[in-house]
Symmetry: C2
Subunit: 134 residues, 2 copies
């Protein structure tokens, strides 16, 4: 399957929401979860990851929440996936976890050729940003 995970989708939805509103505005996880009917706890964890990496800032306590601090044009899909999934989107397992991750690595005849696909994917996901999905 070549599909985005729910976590990534929820992250994109949240980031887009922040991007289309006034900069500096604060949104709570609960609020976002309600608007988009997304599981609160799951969204919260995604937002926490985004906060840890400096994509959004988090304000704890009463009247707290999250605030977008990066420019939408700097937030590529690629980057968001890497933050949320922990790794860049890769077409083949061995590209992520190295030679030992695939039992047929040594006999694989498509690894090199797939590099071309990977490079195109990189371009695609790198140049598509939150800016462009508002």
């Amino acid at each position: 399957m070549i599909q985005l995970s729910k976590k990534v989708e929820y992250g994109l939805i949240a980031l887009r929401h922040m991007a289309i509103h006034q900069q500096g505005q604060i949104f709570t996880a609960k609020e976002l979860a309600n608007i988009y009917d997304v599981p609160y706890e799951l969204l919260a964890k995604v937002l926490q990851k985004l906060a840890r990496t400096g994509t959004i800032s988090s304000i704890q306590g009463v009247r707290g929440g999250y605030m977008l601090i990066k420019k939408p044009s700097e937030l590529s899909i690629s980057r968001i996936i890497r933050i949320i999934e922990g790794e860049k989107p890769m077409i083949a397992e061995c590209y992520v976890d190295g030679p030992d991750s695939c039992s047929i690595f040594d006999n694989c005849s498509i690894r090199r050729p797939l590099g071309k696909v990977q490079r195109n994917l990189n371009v695609l996901f790198d140049k598509m940003t939150i800016q462009e999905i508002v």
Copy 2:
């Protein structure tokens, strides 16, 4: 995860193997499985799917096997994925299984924008063929 499944990888490996050899040559599943150290039964099922859709022809019985009948340039990654996985590579679940497949379909703000990604993906997977991975 944006990864090809093992079945697709095995299919690509097999098709590429046929493509780089003389046209009309017959290969058995066992033979291919041995060369690339791929699980025989799994590869066999993939080859059967490819045979059912007229991508390769199958010859039963002793001295049987599979033979490539389509031109490598006609075999796009997109097409091969569709044959083996049963559906085209789609970036979002709802694109495959419709509105009811996603609980937040009605509130989803990224579905439309993701269409752009999907179109780029289509182009990428459509124009990359077995021809280009020899």
